[in-house]
């Protein structure tokens, strides 16, 4: 069969495309890739799944979509994967986030959390030492100290870009550590609470003092590039970035990077998120069997070894399987342990201090969230850029959210 | 063959009746010229005959067959347009061959006919040029070539020479006349040029506002115009049409006398007048003379170079044999 696979254009996925020959050799099935930028991909597959278009046999989706789609029975359950696949090996945080009602609907290709990446040399210069699990107040202090505008060094680089998967994800994860939440148990928006205003004010004050110019439009890419060019003292972002910043080919600071858990505020929640890019099969495809074969191949330990053999252990897709972190070879990778610790410290089912009705760390796994969070994050970005005050942004966020929830029939 | 009978043909555009019901017969082999002022319906009449416009009422009969509803392509007529309407993207050869190709004639026959036509029209050397590379006169001949290859039952010409300069016009006029003599095919020719009408026509049809004012041979029209309109229209410079007491003396409301039928004298004559603007062409001289007897100045022709001073007093005498008399309705008496 010929499988059509929609996928995001991340490095690990691109690498997988280069490996498909192996799959074809093993099974006889061929593969057509539809590689799209993340946002475009999300629209594209969502349109297709909601209309039952059937344009794809396998879709690359995230932790956000999986439970929602699974609930709607739009995905083929992956509860009958073969023995050799060893589904139990999948990190529980991952399989938990990719299941609905206990059934796995997507197999994680790679998983990530977020953590602090910092410049050991700069930290030393600032006369400070990074604890393994720092607090926000330490981070803010360190950031201000490391900042050296003349040398073009910013103490801290964080996402500020609009978009729920960009700045929205970061600020939500951060707000968790400040005790904030999106909704109370009756689905009322919570942007009028002190916790949210504390979060944003803390963020903005710190970024104004120690962040890069134009941080309001910085996303993952922008910060990565800043960090690689040596322009950031600290960066809190996806664990997968660790392999990029320690790769001497692209990074000027490869040998000076240290890692730490994402900060907390002493309230029992850290500000790290949990995410996985996973492969799922839309219900109704004609090629279910072949699709399952592909998923087993792509998310198997064999695949990890195949990549390791060809491209080295640092380049294998991380965060999906427990066995990877038990592998001696992989343990040598400097960020491996910290990645695992970060992943393990995130709990999608209880991400907020106060109880909340939703599942998800940096998102709420309800269909409305993406739309709401995108708009809310746009208001936040505008506040970061100084186009409105934080109070205005929060007030608007509150209205946007409540309106949308009402439109969706939650109230 | 080519005998046309128009029976009560009329044409309206929307509410405007451009041609009121009209009867006209054109005999086979005749060279008929339509003349009339601009907008009088000459082109419209021609296009009705061609089938390019629907008649509003009446019938068009060609060679005894009723053709009113037959589309132009099937009437077997050729038309030469004022703008020539050559196909700019085709060579002269292809232009001429086009009607034959449309008639699905075979290649060899087409080639022969095109070359014959080209040699008749002196176009042999230009067969592979595009119309854009030809002079006005040559284009004209291509248009005619395209018309004659088909051996149509009649040729229709809509002011074919009006785009040419004076010298070329004279030449083309002669060529078309000669062609008519040779082919003896019916030709219907629209023009507003006096000289063309007079020199080419067997029969002139004078139109005004869609109505036929007179039909006849050129000299018939010149000699005995049926009414003041025709009288004023045929002949150049135009006939002097005079009203008032002088006219009544001849028992008419209006009398007409052509410039060439008035003689000038310094001593005596019928009408006394004062010389106004003079125009000297060398071969002729025209004088505009203001007579006491008439409101408007008279135009008088003298052959050759004649000098008359501005404001000189002279006497004019009309040649009574060529005096035209019209009644109150403008009709010839």
């Amino acid at each position: 069969d010929k499988l059509t696979i929609a996928t995001v254009n991340n490095g690990d996925m691109i690498r997988m495309q280069g490996m498909t020959e192996d799959f074809t050799k093993k099974t006889g099935h061929t593969v057509e890739w539809v590689t799209l930028e993340e946002n475009v991909l999300r629209q594209r597959v969502t349109t297709d799944i909601t209309t039952k278009g059937g344009a794809f046999d396998i879709m690359t989706i995230g932790m956000y979509e999986t439970p929602i789609w699974g609930k709607n029975k739009w995905l083929v359950p992956l509860d009958d994967l073969s023995e050799g696949y060893n589904a139990a090996d999948i990190l529980p945080a991952m399989s938990g986030g990719l299941s609905y009602d206990g059934t796995l609907y997507a197999a994680p290709f790679y998983g990530e959390s977020s953590m602090i990446m910092y410049r050991k040399d700069l930290m030393e210069k600032a006369g400070m030492e990074m604890p393994k699990s720092p607090s926000w107040s330490f981070i803010a202090r360190a950031a201000r100290k490391m900042t050296d505008r003349d040398a073009d060094i910013n103490g801290i680089c964080l996402r500020g870009k609009a978009g729920w998967g960009e700045g929205g994800a970061f600020i939500t994860a951060m707000s968790n550590s400040f005790g904030a939440r999106w909704f109370d148990e009756k689905w009322n928006a919570q942007f009028d609470t002190r916790e949210w205003s504390d979060t944003l004010n803390f963020y903005k004050n710190m970024m104004d003092d120690a962040g890069p110019k134009g941080f309001a439009t910085n996303g993952f890419n922008e910060n990565l590039s800043l960090f690689q060019q040596g322009k950031c003292g600290m960066w809190i972002d996806a664990t997968v970035a660790a392999s990029f910043v320690t790769n001497p080919k692209d990074s000027k600071v490869a040998d000076k990077v240290g890692f730490a858990l994402a900060p907390d505020n002493g309230m029992g929640r850290r500000s790290n998120w949990l995410w996985a890019w996973a492969l799922a099969i839309p219900a109704g495809t004609q090629k279910e069997a072949a699709a399952k074969q592909f998923i087993e191949w792509a998310t198997s330990t064999d695949y990890i070894e195949l990549v390791a053999a060809k491209e080295g252990w640092a380049n294998v897709p991380p965060g999906a399987r427990t066995s990877l972190y038990e592998n001696e070879n992989y343990k040598k990778v400097p960020f491996a342990q910290m990645t695992l610790d970060s992943i393990l410290s995130a709990n999608p089912k209880a991400s907020t201090v106060d109880p909340s009705p939703y599942v998800g760390v940096q998102f709420a796994a309800i269909p409305e969230f993406a739309g709401i969070a995108t708009e809310v994050s746009q208001e936040f970005s505008a506040a970061y850029a100084g186009k409105q005050t934080i109070a205005e942004a929060l007030a608007k966020a509150q209205t946007i959210t409540n309106d949308a929830m009402e439109a969706a029939g939650y109230k | 063959m080519g005998r046309f009978v128009l029976d009560k043909v009329s044409k309206s555009f929307g509410d405007a009746q451009v041609i009121p019901p009209l009867d006209l017969t054109i005999e086979d082999g005749e060279f008929t010229v339509f003349v009339g002022p601009s907008g009088c319906g000459k082109s419209t009449l021609l296009r009705l005959i061609a089938g390019l416009e629907d008649v509003t009422s009446g019938t068009v009969n060609i060679d005894g067959k009723e053709m009113t509803d037959v589309p132009p392509a099937k009437r077997g007529l050729s038309m030469v347009f004022q703008s020539y309407a050559l196909y700019p993207h085709m060579s002269v050869r292809k232009n001429i061959a086009f009607p034959l190709r449309m008639a699905k004639m075979d290649k060899a026959e087409i080639k022969k006919r095109v070359e014959d036509a080209a040699s008749v029209l002196n176009l042999t050397d230009y067969l592979d040029r595009r119309p854009g590379q030809l002079s006005g006169g040559q284009r004209q001949r291509v248009a005619i070539g395209r018309a004659i290859v088909r051996e149509p039952s009649a040729f229709l010409f809509d002011e074919p020479l009006s785009n040419l300069d004076a010298a070329l016009r004279v030449g083309m006029r002669l060529e078309i006349s000669e062609m008519h003599k040779r082919l003896a095919t019916t030709m219907i020719y629209v023009t507003h040029d006096q000289v063309e009408a007079m020199t080419m026509a067997d029969k002139i049809v004078v139109l005004q506002a869609g109505v036929i004012e007179q039909v006849g041979s050129p000299l018939e029209l010149y000699r005995s115009p049926r009414n003041t309109f025709v009288a004023g229209f045929i002949g150049s410079p135009k006939m002097n049409l005079l009203k008032g007491a002088e006219a009544e003396k001849h028992g008419a409301t209006t009398i007409g006398i052509r410039p060439e039928h008035i003689s000038i004298s310094h001593e005596s004559g019928m009408w006394e007048g004062v010389v106004g603007v003079s125009e000297h062409l060398g071969s002729d001289s025209f004088f505009h003379v203001q007579c006491d007897a008439f409101e408007h100045p008279l135009t008088v022709r003298a052959t050759g170079e004649v000098e008359l001073n501005y404001g000189a007093k002279i006497f004019l005498t009309p040649d009574l044999a060529h005096l035209h008399k019209f009644d109150a309705d403008g009709l010839r008496l």
């Binding site: 110019k213 409305e368 739309g371 708009e375 | -």
Partner: protein, 292 residues
Amino acid sequence: MATQHSRSAACMMMAPAVVLLLGWMLVPLIMTLFFSFKKYLPLRGDSLSDGLEWVGFLNYERFISSGSFWPSVQTTLIIVLSVLIITVTLGVLLALLLDQPMWGQGVVRILVIAPFFVMPTVSALVWKNMFMDPINGILAHLWKFFGAEPVLWLSEASLPSIIIIVSWQWLPFATLILLTAIQSLDSEQLEASEIDGAPKLKRFWHIILPHLSRSITIVILIQTIFVLAVFAEIFVTTGGAFGTKTLTYLIFQRVLDSQNIGLGSAGGVYAIILANIVAIFLMRIVGKNLDA
């Protein structure tokens, strides 16, 4: 010309185009109208086959009462107007310049029209990453070179940035049409005005500009149609943040981000109404000009 034959032929020959376009317009339009009166949240399990709940004008009320609606209309109009003003003004000037004798005219023309061939996505990407990036962008380097603080284009000057990108794409089009128009000006008219004693600037004002008016209306009409629909430029650069959310973009968010088809469809109907208000206004002008 118009005989019975040709008239009936004309009807037949128009038919395919008219029928196709009618279908292309009506089918989606009716479906959009239909959806706009329904609650249609596919992610919550609503689907056409199960039947959709009728909600009356609720979607319409919601859409218009949302805080984003009027700002988005305003943004749309600002973008369209600014782009029109910029492209037409610069287009006229550029066309005048290109009409002058110079060396290498052909090459300059090639340079000037090139942006028209660039896909909107690509041009947005290039502008965003390689020009307007506050750190690595050429413009930032340029500003720094002159000792100025780099402008944070996409956040601080977000709307102007979008306008710059869109104008850059459409300037060639305006220039080309206006250039052909200038070249078609009867030179005797200019000579006549010169003999009549008009100096250069007045010749431009009294002769050239009026001559261009037809072309300008056409440029305005076509560009309005395309600029009203501008999407990729916003999607790629600001993603609708910083006050760059146009009506089209807002509908996009409702339909695709929020997956609220009913609400989005109601927005679509508003967009159609807005477009038609603009269109009627434009068609008046152009319609008049098409006759003349």
